[in-house]
């Protein structure tokens, strides 16, 4: 049921445009950050310039350049840099936080929420680090580029009155260091970055194979082979990274050389190679200014390489957040009736895939207990997705209490249908937080009642921390059966009139599953129960059984 998307990534410009759109509220802050950092840079450049002037000035007797200026600039540079860095980083982290929340909302609103199995955890974790990668966009690209522009302006202001030819040479060299070389590095990075990504994916997959297959490896005595395979993958990753490192080192060296060339140019002008010598004091000031200006833009070459990665990151973030926002949003509140009816429903996950359900008509009266059985991939879970309004039928209607589902609000539908499946997530949090999911209108009494109904209350009472017990990632500190009961308690707490159970006992052994179902029989009361499964265990109390096969839903003997 997972839909694999092979649509091309959104192009880089749209991606950045969208991200900057999210950042619009942060823009004033980011802009102030840039101004502050430019002020700090100016103070730094002025300091070097004045230091040069002053030194030369003292030597040739121009005592006039005030030493106070020097000291003030020095203090200004230190304080300015400190404040600037704090402020820009803070602004950047605010922007990243906004991006994360935006991403989460988009994911929640879009169909990407799916039923929890559309996207793998690996991709999601990469998206988390992708968001982090984007911090370089502002701190390492935008701010230094603005800095380079200021440095260029200052350099021209200092050099043009002295020697226009020299000014041109310096400007060209600075533009090389700040723009041309970073662009070259960007291309290198994009090319090499691709092969590194491939090698990384191969090694990561090899290691996932290894850890997941530890049992097989031990059972077949395959340790040596697997270890050497990992080492081969590691070597090819090292080779790819080494290649990038060499090219980067070269780019860095060339960038360094442009700075040195600029110094040589100023030195030559000072001693009058091919021109009348510069005035010593002014020349000396220019020399120091040149050194500082090139230092400020030296990080850009390296940032150029990262820019490629950032572009990819931006595209991935935008692409996965950019799922079509759910379908037609209804506006009507939930009806009081809870009869469910499917009328000639056909459905597929996307137009280029085969139909999963064809012309299905089905009635689930309020308070009835039905089972929908069938082999994996037959369309059972698609049915669940349709009922929960995660997907919409291509043809036909689904009625809830005789109102079409498409006209009802999403949350109204979901307040009537409580969903429990093996994909129901247990959060790495306390038992209480897992049960309430942030609701504040739940009393302890209600929690305990739900836990008791799910037949886990006594166990929780026995825990030293009770409701505050931390249950670990995916509920790992509980056994499989216990975890399922916690999920059941959460479902019961939702107090919805319809329970939709999508293979809730997968992965549990027969005895535990049977216990779970007999608990369920007791607590379901007069709720509607829709059970989706491979097969029945025989313990469930069921009024009707439907079988799904070849996109058709057929009644079967109960």
């Amino acid at each position: 049921m997972s839909r694999v998307q092979h649509t091309p990534l959104v192009d880089q410009r749209t991606a950045f445009a969208q991200i900057f759109g999210v950042w619009r509220p942060c823009m004033p802050r980011l802009a102030i950050g840039i101004v502050l950092s430019l002020l700090a840079l100016l103070a730094g450049l002025e300091l070097m310039w004045t230091a040069g002037l002053r030194l030369a000035g003292m030597a040739i007797g121009l005592w006039a350049v005030a030493s106070i200026v020097l000291r003030l600039l020095g203090a200004g540079r230190v304080a300015g840099r400190y404040i600037e860095r704090l402020f820009t980083h803070d602004a950047m982290f605010r922007a990243l936080a906004d991006l994360r929340v935006w991403f989460f909302r988009r994911l929640a609103a879009g169909s990407a929420a799916g039923l929890g199995f559309r996207r793998s955890g690996d991709l999601l974790s990469r998206l988390v680090s992708d968001v982090e990668t984007l911090d370089g966009l502002y701190l390492r690209v935008v701010v230094p580029l603005c800095g380079a522009a200021v440095a260029l302006a200052l350099l021209l202001r200092a050099a043009l009155p002295l020697a226009p030819g020299l000014a041109v040479v310096l400007a060209v060299l600075l533009l090389m260091a700040a723009i041309a070389l970073p662009l070259v590095a960007l291309r290198i990075g994009r090319h090499e970055g691709g092969s590194i990504a491939v090698a990384q994916a191969a090694l990561r997959n090899g290691l996932i194979d290894l850890t997941a297959g530890l049992r097989e490896i031990r059972a077949f005595e395959a340790e040596a082979g697997v270890a050497s395979r990992i080492d081969v993958l590691d070597e090819s990753l090292s080779r790819a990274q080494g290649q990038l490192a060499r090219k980067l080192a070269l780019a860095g060296a060339v960038s360094f050389l442009t700075g040195q060339a600029a110094i040589v140019a100023v030195l030559a002008a000072l001693v009058g190679v091919g021109m009348t010598p510069l005035h010593p004091a002014a020349g000396c000031g220019l020399l120091f200014l040149t050194i500082a200006a090139f230092e400020a833009s030296s990080g850009l070459t390296r940032a150029g390489v990262l820019a490629g990665t950032m572009g990819m990151a931006a595209r991935r973030v935008v692409e996965s957040a950019d799922q079509p926002a759910t379908l037609d949003r209804g506006t009507r509140p939930a009806p009081s009736g809870t009869d469910i009816a499917l009328r000639n429903v056909s459905f597929r996950w996307s137009p280029d895939r085969p139909m999963v359900l064809r012309n299905v008509t089905l009635d689930i009266p309020s308070g009835s207990r039905v089972a929908i059985l069938g082999p994996s991939g037959a369309g059972k879970s698609s049915l669940a997705a349709l009922l929960l309004k995660v997907a919409v039928p291509e043809e036909g209607d689904i009625l809830l209490g005789s109102e079409p589902l498409s006209t009802l609000r999403d949350d109204a539908v979901r307040s009537r249908i409580a969903w429990l499946s093996q994909a129901t997530h247990l959060f790495d949090d306390t038992l209480r937080a897992n049960l309430t999911l942030g609701r504040r209108d739940v009393t302890d009494d209600m929690l305990w009642r739900a836990l008791d109904q799910a037949a886990i209350g006594d166990l929780v009472r026995g825990l030293p921390d009770g409701l505050e017990t931390w249950i670990g990632e995916g509920g790992t500190r509980l056994s499989g059966g216990q975890g399922r009961r916690v999920a059941l308690a959460r479902t019961l707490l939702a107090d919805a009139p319809i329970l939709l159970l999508d293979e809730p006992t997968t992965g549990l052994d027969a005895q535990t599953a049977a216990d779970f179902f007999s608990t369920l029989n007791d607590v379901a009361g007069d709720r509607t129960v829709i059970m989706i499964a491979h097969r029945l265990t025989g313990v469930e109390r069921i009024d009707r059984v439907w079988r799904v096969a070849d996109g058709q839903v057929m009644p079967a003997m109960a």
Partner: protein
């Protein structure tokens, strides 16, 4: 509480020891980087001398005494050499990082392999893979940047001061004093802050994990109608993350502000100090180009003096990564060292128990009062279990989950060893067999076979590396894996990530073919159809029945389809044998 603290400090010691040991190992590879750094500093000194030689006369107004060609050309040539040294240093740093990562990954992979499947009881396989991949990748900076920086931050400034001391002793003194101020300043606002930053680092990691967890469970949140509320809580968590990150950064920025301050002070003091002397000279009319040059020389070298200090401050977060990695490695493997040693000890006294029989054709199995516990706190998983089966018999393990069925399987597979009692194959204690010997007895099919990324043939040859293509085809035919021959590339079809996707039933058939190929006398079947629908389950059991012919079989399954294996039955309740009887 006291003992907890003691344990914490012991853990901290272990972490520190690990970090130190890694630094020692990394230092050899860092030598070229350090050498490049030192050579670079020397070249910078020579370049400063060129500038001084060039500008001294200009500033002193002795244009006639000016040497233009050699200082200018020298400066240019030195720049080229320095650029090359710089590049070589960068490349060497990259190589040092890569080598260290590879070594570390080999270590971790070896530890994982020798600890074996037991690890999966302690951590999710994804977490283990992340340790071996992401954690190790993140250590690149520790080896490539931190280790060289931790040496160069002393060596380079000392070198600069020594050189300057020859030419301008006063300036050298100023530099040295300002340099010494840096560690003092860092200690002044650093010590408490360093502890804080460690704590912040942990808090940051936790908050990141929380975000990831919420994203993973997004469907649960959305379908429970809690998305808006959760987004707000996430925003609060993100704000918290930002504040904590800023606290860490403030420390880092303060320390580099201290470096900046020291540098500015040095610049100003040297400018004023040397300048003062020059003004006096000028007043006396004896302005000497050489002394102007000396002042210039010292001044130009001030940034060179402070650059390594700044590099160290920048590399500090790489150091924090290393502590983090050490902690997670210790958490996972810390307890493991003991059992690994035991394993090696067993292999050393390799007494062949079944003389002359390289490939045993049949096997009887006996458990003799076997007890085992995964976790002392939770009590025994198996207590005092005894049973025996003759060769070519079938035994059915029954009981609820947690009754000890999987533990018996894992004991037979040698993933763990009994804490008391003996397991005997053909009346030989398996504890006295090498793991290779024992592996020859056993074929195993679990709930979900892991198929490795690669071709189907690669996956089959796991069982017998030297098997011919014909042998593979035969095994597939025996396992009724007809779908393989229908694939365009047959057994050379790539499966796994990015390859052909197999259904659960197909994967299980590959696993059965693997067992046919291995042809071991003892067949362990651990819920082999737990995830399959009834039709597929029936078909798989048909094939398994064929595989079981003439072998000793131990089967754990809840399915009703197993009645065909007319078998002995062992009922387990809480790790104890309830009764043993023959059905059908």
């Amino acid at each position: 509480m006291v003992s907890y603290k003691a344990a914490m400090s012991r853990d901290k010691q272990i972490v520190r020891a690990w970090t130190r040991a890694q630094a020692r190992l990394g230092r050899r590879n860092a030598r070229p980087v350090i050498a490049a750094g030192l050579v670079g500093t020397l070249i910078a000194c020579a370049q400063a001398a060129c500038i001084a030689a060039l500008l001294g006369p200009v500033l002193a107004g002795h244009a006639a005494a000016m040497q233009i060609v050699w200082p200018l050309a020298g400066f240019g040539c030195l720049a080229i050499v320095r650029a090359m040294v710089l590049a070589l240093g960068d490349i060497a740093a990259g190589r040092a990082g890569a080598r260290a990562r590879r070594r570390l990954r080999q270590d971790i992979v070896q530890t994982m392999l020798s600890a074996g499947p037991v690890l999966l009881r302690r951590a999710h396989s994804g977490a283990l893979a992340a340790l071996a991949f992401d954690r190790v990748e993140a250590l690149d900076g520790f080896f490539a940047r931190w280790i060289p920086a931790s040496i160069l931050w002393v060596a380079q400034p000392v070198l600069v001061v020594c050189v300057v001391a020859f030419v301008a002793p006063h300036a050298a003194l100023v530099m040295a004093l300002c340099g010494l101020f840096v560690p003092f300043a860092q200690a002044a606002f650093g010590i408490g802050a360093a502890v804080a930053s460690r704590r912040q680092f942990l808090a940051m990691t936790r908050l990141q994990a929380r975000f990831l967890d919420r994203i993973r469970g997004i469907a649960t949140i959305v379908l429970a109608g809690r998305a808006d509320d959760e987004a707000e809580r996430l925003a609060a968590a993100a704000a918290e993350l930002r504040k904590r990150t800023m606290t860490v950064l403030r420390v880092a920025f303060l320390s580099s502000a201290a470096i900046d301050l020291a540098m500015v002070v040095a610049l100003v003091l040297i400018t004023l100090g040397e300048g003062h002397g020059l003004v006096a000279q000028r007043a006396a009319g004896t302005l000497d180009p050489a002394s102007v040059g000396r002042a210039l020389f010292a001044l130009v070298l001030v940034p060179e003096f402070f650059a390594p200090l700044r590099a160290l401050a920048l590399a500090y977060q790489d150091r924090a990564q290393a502590s983090g990695a050490a902690e997670s490695i210790h958490d996972l493997f810390g307890a493991e060292t003991v059992s690994i040693d035991a394993d090696e000890g067993r292999q050393s006294h390799d007494v062949p128990c079944t003389p002359g029989e390289a490939r045993p054709s049949s096997v009887s199995v006996r458990f003799e009062r076997v007890s085992f516990s995964w976790d002392a706190d939770r009590g025994a998983s198996l207590s005092d279990v005894s049973f025996r089966m003759d060769a070519r018999q079938t035994l059915l393990l029954c009981g609820a989950s947690g009754a000890g069925k999987s533990t018996i399987m894992e004991l037979l597979l040698g993933f763990v060893s009994p804490m008391s009692g003996r397991i005997l194959f053909n009346e030989c204690d398996v504890a006295e067999m090498s793991s290779a010997q024992r592996a020859r007895y056993v074929a195993w099919i679990g709930q979900r076979p892991v198929l490795f990324a690669g071709t189907i043939a690669d996956n089959l040859r796991l069982a017998r590396p030297e098997a011919s293509d014909e042998a593979l085809e035969h095994a597939l035919a025996m396992a009724s894996a007809d779908f393989v021959s229908a694939l365009p590339q047959g057994i050379h079809t790539v499966i796994g990530d990015g390859g052909f996707g197999l259904s659960g039933g197909q994967a299980q058939r590959i696993a059965i073919a693997r067992a046919f190929l291995k042809n071991a006398p003892l067949l362990l079947l651990d819920e082999p159809t737990a995830h399959l629908d009834p039709a597929t389950e029936r078909a798989i059991f048909d094939t398994l029945a064929r595989l079981a012919e003439g072998r000793t079989v131990i089967l754990a399954s809840h399915s009703h389809a197993i009645s065909r294996f007319g078998a002995q039955r062992l009922d387990l309740v809480h790790g104890r044998v309830l009764e043993s009887r023959v059905v059908a």
